[in-house]
Symmetry: C2
Subunit: 254 residues, 2 copies
């Protein structure tokens, strides 16, 4: 039985998409069958894997709003065990379109009913906002993986995020769990990075992965070639960090 | 007559809040009367200026939803010419609460009717999303200032943002203009930074400020002390960059 993991944090630019693409592809290389669902209208996970959001037959928008089967929108990638359910900018309108629909929070969980039989892990790359698309991801998900950038503002939004997760657990999805917290863009030369990392470990203890993702320009370059880091530059610190994270993710850190 | 400038980009973590705080405070030091409006539920501009979002009598939420006069929520800062209209996490609910209201897109412009008489520049720090709060800011604003991070994904979302601005110009606010584009987190050692900066200047020509904001850790440290860079470390490259940007902003770059 597969597991659905939402990758979320309403703070922008903290490494949600980079973690979705690179954790998923590291697991795919370990021959785990993986699906990435891009539910962000920016469609960065879609383009970061080499697809052009403007030229797709069908996307998550059609699955959510028109209720076509999710399989019709899934795209294969050049990694055998990695598929992607892409997004495009039509998704910008989904929020407003869904607000007045019946059971607007559970549309995604309904359309993903059988996905756990097809894949071992399903990662949902969320937008930087606690909106209906993120709420749908929390309702459909088994757990939430939270990337936290080693910067001051990154600490601020955590209470809001945890509050939203608790709201979903109480009202929409009792089984939703915190999968873990991964520290990103860590720069060992900066006190700021060290300070934030210490604070996060102090509050969240063993919910924080031992593996820390360091700042590495190759992670920023890889998406412009439409590739995950593992195929773009397997010797980079970024690739090593994400492969280690994938190991820790599978074998359970806590 | 004052000017309302929305600082927006739906891509997360590109330096919207950092630009709002530091451009505004550099102008305040030049004795221009400045108001920062924080319309992001993360309330980073509020906390970055030393306020605790959880301990405020009234915020932009009360102004937008309860219609209290904006002056009742304005806070003075330790810079004589800089005030802030703060946010807190109540704003998370504003989106859904406003969707079914009459003229939901023009609520902010109505409550800010007289603000141009009180301040020379009013900067609105927007959330990383093209949602109703951002649409309200575009409807109330005279122009949009777009920070662009020198990273690959930063280029992806621009068409969506420009499309939204055109929609607002056509349907809600014909006078809305593009104030300018500022390149942020530039690292002169990285080809990625150079490549993105070149692309942006190619497409946008003289709409792009000459001043580039370099990556500078002091900009990331300043908010943890609740201070703009100009009072936290006036000799830092971050402070010099934002003071130069303020000069260029006032004297018109183009
Ligand atoms: N460890 C890292 N080292 C260097 N650059 C990184 C790292 N992780 C992410 N980046 C870069 O930082 C930027 C932000 O990362 P990313 O887009 O993954 O964040 P996000 O949380 O998905 O953003 P959004 O909130 O807009 O969805 C991107 O340009 C990405 O390439
Ligand atoms: N020039 C810079 N050099 C170094 N760090 C920077 C710079 N500009 C911003 N930062 C840091 O990068 C992070 C993202 O910046 P900021 O929060 O201003 O972006 P934002 O666009 O407002 O994010 P959001 O989309 O979440 O609102 C912050 O931690 C900030 O302190
Ligand atoms: Mg993303
Ligand atoms: Mg911000």
């Amino acid at each position: 039985m597969g597991k659905i993991v939402a990758i979320a944090n309403q703070k922008g630019g903290v490494g949600k998409t980079t973690t979705a693409i690179n954790l998923a592809s590291s697991l795919a290389v370990m021959e785990k069958r993986i699906l990435i669902i891009d539910i962000d209208p920016q469609a960065n996970a879609t383009s970061g894997l080499g697809f052009d959001p403007a030229n797709l037959e069908s996307t998550i928008y059609d699955v959510l709003l028109e209720k076509i089967p999710y399989k019709n929108a899934v795209q294969k990638t050049f990694l055998e065990y990695l598929d992607v359910l892409p997004a495009n900018q039509e998704l910008v309108g989904a929020e407003i379109e869904m607000v007045n629909m019946m059971s607007r929070e559970t549309r995604l969980s309904k359309v993903l009913k059988n996905v756990r039989n097809e894949y071992e892990y399903i990662f949902i790359d969320c937008p930087p906002s606690l909106n209906l698309l993120t709420v749908n991801s929390f309702t459909a998900g088994d757990s939430v993986l939270i990337p936290i950038q080693c910067e001051y503002f990154a600490l601020e939004g955590l209470t809001q995020l945890l509050y939203t997760i608790r709201l979903i657990q109480r009202n929409l999805n009792a089984k939703l769990d915190l999968e873990g917290i991964v520290l990103t863009m860590y720069d060992s030369r900066l006190n700021l990075s060290k300070m934030v990392a210490e604070e996060v470990r102090k509050y969240f203890g063993d919910k924080v992965y031992q593996t820390v993702i360091s700042r590495n320009v190759r992670l920023g370059e890889a998406p412009s070639y439409g590739q995950p880091i593992i195929s773009f530059d397997i010797h980079s610190s970024g690739a090593i960090n994400y492969m280690k994270l994938a190991e820790e993710f599978i074998h359970g850190k806590k």
